[in-house]
């Protein structure tokens, strides 16, 4: 039995080709990313692990360097010029994030160290006080462990039940099953906007609306969405939205939690320390208002400024243009990979970001990744921190190529050539 045979039917290939956005110069954009100029094994790097983390453009690197060289100081504490400048830059970064996701007020945006911390913050600060014995939390079968384990552990600790929205063979959520899972017991729905393992874009607006009708709040894991899809948290009406800076061409060590103000006011702090305190005695502390209430300690100042620069960079090119180029690459790559003998694409949702998970009859994903590495092609292999997804397809692992707007058609061709080399070596 070959468990993945039925997967290799990309609806894509019957449709007419996707056109590239007019005037888009991928080579010129690629030139702005220093790491992409590197060679390995004497071959130019083809970086196709963008779903794990993205490379940084020159303006982001320059902003960070310049900030350390000219502007660096602590935030919120001092009366001197450097501190005031740093504080202003840090808060300006917050404002940029707010505008990027159309958040109503800057104070609904909290800086964290990443998506993982943002989700844990909500699981602790909102989940603990609001989810109790007999209640239910709903996640989907597509979740990254970061949006699964915090809820699983919360449910265990408080005596609640975790429910899972199933997926079909294409990797799309079963919305009818979701509606059946919702009930008065549902306190919270935590769903990913885009699957990191398969690339599926979930109908997040419908998910949120259904949950609200049932009286539940919704957390959206936007780690894989923020770099591909324009986000409007007010139009979505989500209660929480999280993403990571490092997947959005920004620095590592910075992430964003957007939350509706009403929740933030009620939530308990997640960590305690400096900067989040109004007054402290040995008996008692009172806490400042959000966002500071959730940003204990010296925050990731330069990372926030770097994220602001990354958002400026993305805005300058425009997410719709980025999405159009990536759709073009996805279409070409899907067509070309589909013609490779023994290759099966895993995850064939109608709505996908530029990511292709696949397995090959000839070689294990680790073998594929190792041989591609000799060709200076970087892809991800493994379970992608989404073991339940792998289990759903009865696979121990997949190979995953994920494309960003700095990837080119030549990168796709190098991947295809690399895969032919894999076949030659392992057949």
């Amino acid at each position: 039995m070959t468990p993945v045979m039925h997967l290799n039917t990309p609806s894509h290939c019957t449709q007419s080709p996707v056109e590239p956005p007019a005037g888009f110069d991928a080579a010129a954009i690629r030139a702005q990313f220093p790491v992409l100029q590197r060679e390995f094994n004497g071959k130019p790097l083809v970086y196709l692990d963008n779903a794990a983390t993205t490379q940084k453009p020159r303006p982001v690197i320059d902003t960070i360097t310049h900030f350390y060289e000219h502007d660096y100081g602590t935030v919120r504490r001092g009366v001197y010029a450097l501190c005031e400048g740093s504080t202003r830059a840090y808060e300006e970064a917050r404002a940029k994030v707010s505008r990027f996701i159309n958040a109503p007020l800057s104070c609904g945006v909290i800086f964290t160290k990443g998506t993982t911390e943002a989700i844990n913050l909500v699981a602790t600060g909102y989940g603990r006080p609001n989810v109790g014995r007999g209640d239910e939390v709903i996640v989907s079968a597509l979740e990254h462990h970061a949006n699964l384990v915090p809820w699983q552990q919360l449910c265990k600790d408080v005596g609640a039940t975790l429910k899972v929205i199933p997926i079909n063979d294409a990797g799309e959520l079963d919305m009818a099953a979701y509606k059946k899972l919702l009930s008065k017991k549902t306190k919270l729905v935590a769903v990913t906007h885009v699957s990191n393992a398969l690339g599926t874009v979930n109908p997040i607006k419908a998910i949120i609306d259904e949950a609200h009708q049932a009286g539940a709040v919704v957390l959206v894991d936007g780690a894989q969405a923020a770099s591909h899809i324009p986000i409007d948290v007010q139009a979505l009406d989500c209660d929480f939205y999280c993403f990571s800076g490092h997947k959005l061409y920004g620095p590592s060590g910075i992430g964003v939690l957007y939350a509706k103000i009403c929740h933030l006011d009620e939530m308990t702090p997640y960590q305690y320390g400096g900067e989040m305190i109004e007054s402290v005695t040995f008996e008692e502390s009172t806490f400042t208002k959000p966002p500071n209430k959730f940003e204990a300690g010296t925050p990731p100042i330069v990372q926030a400024v770097g994220l602001g620069a990354a958002i400026d960079y993305v805005n300058q090119i425009g997410l719709p243009t980025i999405a159009a180029w990536e759709a073009y690459l996805l279409d070409i790559a899907t067509r070309k990979l589909s013609t490779i003998d023994g290759l099966h694409i895993v995850g064939t949702a109608a709505d996908k970001v530029s990511l292709i998970s696949f397995v090959m009859d000839q070689a294990h994903p680790l073998d594929i990744g190792t041989i591609l590495d000799t060709e200076a092609i970087a892809i991800r292999t493994g379970h992608h921190c989404a073991q339940p997804v792998m289990k759903r397809y009865n696979l121990p692992a997949t190979a995953r190529a994920s494309f960003a707007f700095y990837n080119t058609v030549d990168d796709v061709d190098r991947l295809v050539a690399g895969l032919h080399k894999v076949i030659e070596l392992f057949e």
Binding site: N41, A363, H364, L366, D367, T374
Partner: protein, 148 residues
């Protein structure tokens, strides 16, 4: 009695073979060839208990103590390149005494000049496999010393 080579000789022979291979491609081809030739482990032995943790592919290993005080290792993986690495490791360690195993550093890994490519990559489980072999050697050494 079977002919046993000293572990130094075995490592030298492995390194010699790799030296004759001019580039990464041919070295990988060699490893893949070894991987294809490695005898399969019986499916019945591919149990959760025998899984070597810390590898990106699935790796299973069993060990048994022979009457002459040497240990026989059997290992397998679902990835061919990992099977090739297993083949090299078993060639070095299987059939040796616990004492020899614990005294033998797998220097061939550095010497075949694939360090950057292979041993640095924890994902292939090389590190975890060697640890597992040492773990068995310690366990059997204690067993022998206690006369069990």
């Amino acid at each position: 009695m079977t002919m046993t080579h000293s572990t130094d000789q075995i490592q030298a022979a492995i390194v010699e073979t790799f030296k004759t291979l001019p580039d990464w491609d041919s070295r990988y081809k060699h490893i893949i060839q070894l991987g294809k030739q490695l005898p399969n482990m019986a499916d019945a032995d591919k149990t959760a208990d025998n899984i070597v943790k810390g590898c990106q592919s699935q790796v299973w290993m069993t060990a048994s103590l022979n009457d002459d005080g040497t240990i026989t290792f059997i290992a397998d993986s679902d990835a061919v390149i990992v099977r090739g690495l297993i083949s090299l490791i078993l060639r070095l360690y299987s059939g040796q005494t616990p004492q020899t195993i614990l005294e033998t550093r797998p220097s061939f890994i550095d010497d075949i000049e694939m360090t950057q490519h292979i041993s640095a990559q924890r994902s292939n489980g090389l590190h975890a496999m060697i640890k597992q072999i040492q773990f068995y050697a310690i366990a059997y050494k204690m067993k022998l010393e206690q006369g069990l």
